[in-house]
Amino acid sequence: MQSLQEDKSMKKKAQPKEKEGEQKGRAMQIVVFKQGDEEFAMHIDQIKEVVITPSIARMPQTPDFVLGVANIRGNIIAILDLEKKFGFQKDEQRTLGGKNFTLVIESEEFKMGVLVKEVPNTLTVYESEIEESLNVIHDSSMEQNYIKGIVKKEGRLIIMIDTLKIVTESEMNAVAQAVVSN
């Protein structure tokens, strides 16, 4: 939470810069977090809060990367481990692996949390800095669905993702599994 606030104050300082950023397109804030050695990011509007990971109840009939559900302020939230989803971690066990913080994502339909090791930072980027529809991604696999674009800034390479899409895919997995088990 703290660092988010700090960055929000930074946003104020950054505002005068917006004039010069006119050619760069609209400015937006993203939340950057590490998964494995890579940096991922989501739009700040998607993230409700960052909390210390609560105790998680395991759920049967779910894919491996769904660790279970947790109670965050009376809301039941599905906890996802994206490292497992992306294949950065081959661990069969559903353990936290030192991921002590949870990014809480809430939309009308979905309530879920993404596990992270460190409190994430925010970053102001301009539309021109986001590369969408990269050939590399298109060729690679189905994953293009939830990868929204790639941010190149100050030598960093940040992958913008849309978590809601990840879950929509995982939903399909769950259905497929249910069919197998029946």
Binding site: M59, P60, Q61, V66, V69, I76, T168, V175
Partner: protein, 613 residues
Amino acid sequence: MKSNDEEYREIFLAEALENFEEINKVLTQLEKKPTDTAYINTLFRITHTMKGNATAMGFEGISSLTHVMEDLFGEVRNKKIELDSEIFAALFKAVDVLEALIGAIKTGQKVQFRGIQTKLKVIIERATTDTPSGVASEKEEDSDSLKPESSKDTNSKKKEKATSKDKKNNKPKQEEKESLKVIEEILDDAEAEEEEVDLPLSDSKIVVSDLVHVPVRKLDNLLNLVGELIIERDRILASYSTNAHSSEFSRLNRISSDLQYSVMDVRLVQVGFLFNKFHRVVRDAANLESKKVRLELSGVDTEIDRNILQIISDSLIHLIRNSVSHGIEPPEEREAHNKAEEGVISLSAFNDSDGVVIEIKDDGKGIDIEKVKKKAIENGLVTQELLSLMSMDEVLLMIFEPGFSTREQVSALSGRGVGMDVVKKATDSIGGNIKVTTQENEGTTIRLKLPASMAVKGTLLCMLEDQTYAIPLSYTEAVVSLYKKDLHKLSNGLVSTYLGKTISVVFLKDLFDLSNGKNLHKRILQSGFDHLHAEAQLHVVIVSHNGRIIGLVVDKLLQQKEIVEKPLFKPLDNIKILSGVTILGNGKVCPVLNIASINNMIFTATLANQKVY
């Protein structure tokens, strides 16, 4: 949240429909007894209220139509119009148009109402202008002389006393009489005014009714909030339980419990509300099949949660149609069996411990078990081997499987193999049980055991690998301890005996592995057993669903607890073996097992194995 406008519209719609029903009813009664002023007054009042409401909401069609109707009833009340069959025909037409107009609010259709409106106007105008004024005034005088009789009598008596001395003089008496008449007229006027004033008063009484209409949506919300309050209370109680002053919370405990039960009580409706609609269902179904069937209702004042009633209403329609179509025989066949020509279907409801039982009973030919067995094998629902292991109850329950119908020919009503599985799905979804009993030539009874309320669920908490799970008590039969020697391997599963019956036993852990699609080797349901120490004691929860009994092996049994269940949401709404989750006093999340689907899963798994061999 919906906007205020929409909310008002909902309320108006509900009220308008109710008013419309009332108009319809009273008008029919009036037609039989056209002079009854009570009916006319009622009609005047209802149309007046409806006009007011419709004008306020800006529904021009309804307001102008009801306005004319109100005028007409006003004239009838004032005896200016005599009701005849022509006027009744016009009125009924107007009521039909009114219904269409009310319906059009929802659908947004355009309804022609000007025609009938003008017709009513013409009737009023004809009545008020055509009647000679003399007749009207005569009538008025008639009524005048009737009404204020008492006051006139006393007045005139006084006058008579006062004038008794000049009895012989005619003139002053006539003067007196004239003055009397003036007084009378004034009195009458006052009375007439009083009457006019009376009307709006009686209307305002109707507005401030003892009943409050509340949309179910709001009640649902209230119930959710109470549920959260209970969870929160339990959390606080748990965190202070180490403190010696636990009695400090007893008041909070009691008040919140009372609140919870009050809210649950508000949601209860009488089953008669639904049952009464089935007279028509039975009649239509019987006519279509040219059978004679009578519906008998009992226990109509039994109360059940409104949402549960809604969920099972379709199922009951299916079951009743099914009873007419499959159960009751044609009249000739009934006579051949020495039964009354008219078949009887009885629909009854009663309270049973913490739930409500609804029974649909017919005195028809009963279910042909052999036919059910044959059909089940034909449709691939079971195998011959499995069938021989199944009890009579289990065989009968197969009529609720999808794609099952014993009727050779498809009839218009039932027999398409859909419908009965809807019943099973509906009862499963609310945690109910179905039981079928049948006797050849005596009839069939289908008994649905339903929870009376969905707000709280009694559950048994148990542990498995550091995780607490809740098992609904409505499905729990018993809790027993077994040893490894009590369990036996049978084909792919495990069996044991409980109260002399053979039941299948499943390790909950194996079940989760199975459902996760891991280690899909053949003997997965025995892996827990294989890893067991020979002396180990097992905690087994015996659960039964629709007559199928299974034992679930868990690590540890905790306590019995009332929980407020929250449904699973996206992206977890595909988990079949859980019906929802709850938050325990310690703030941890506890999954609630869906016994109905676990039961089905084990059954289909056994079936799949049978097919392999």
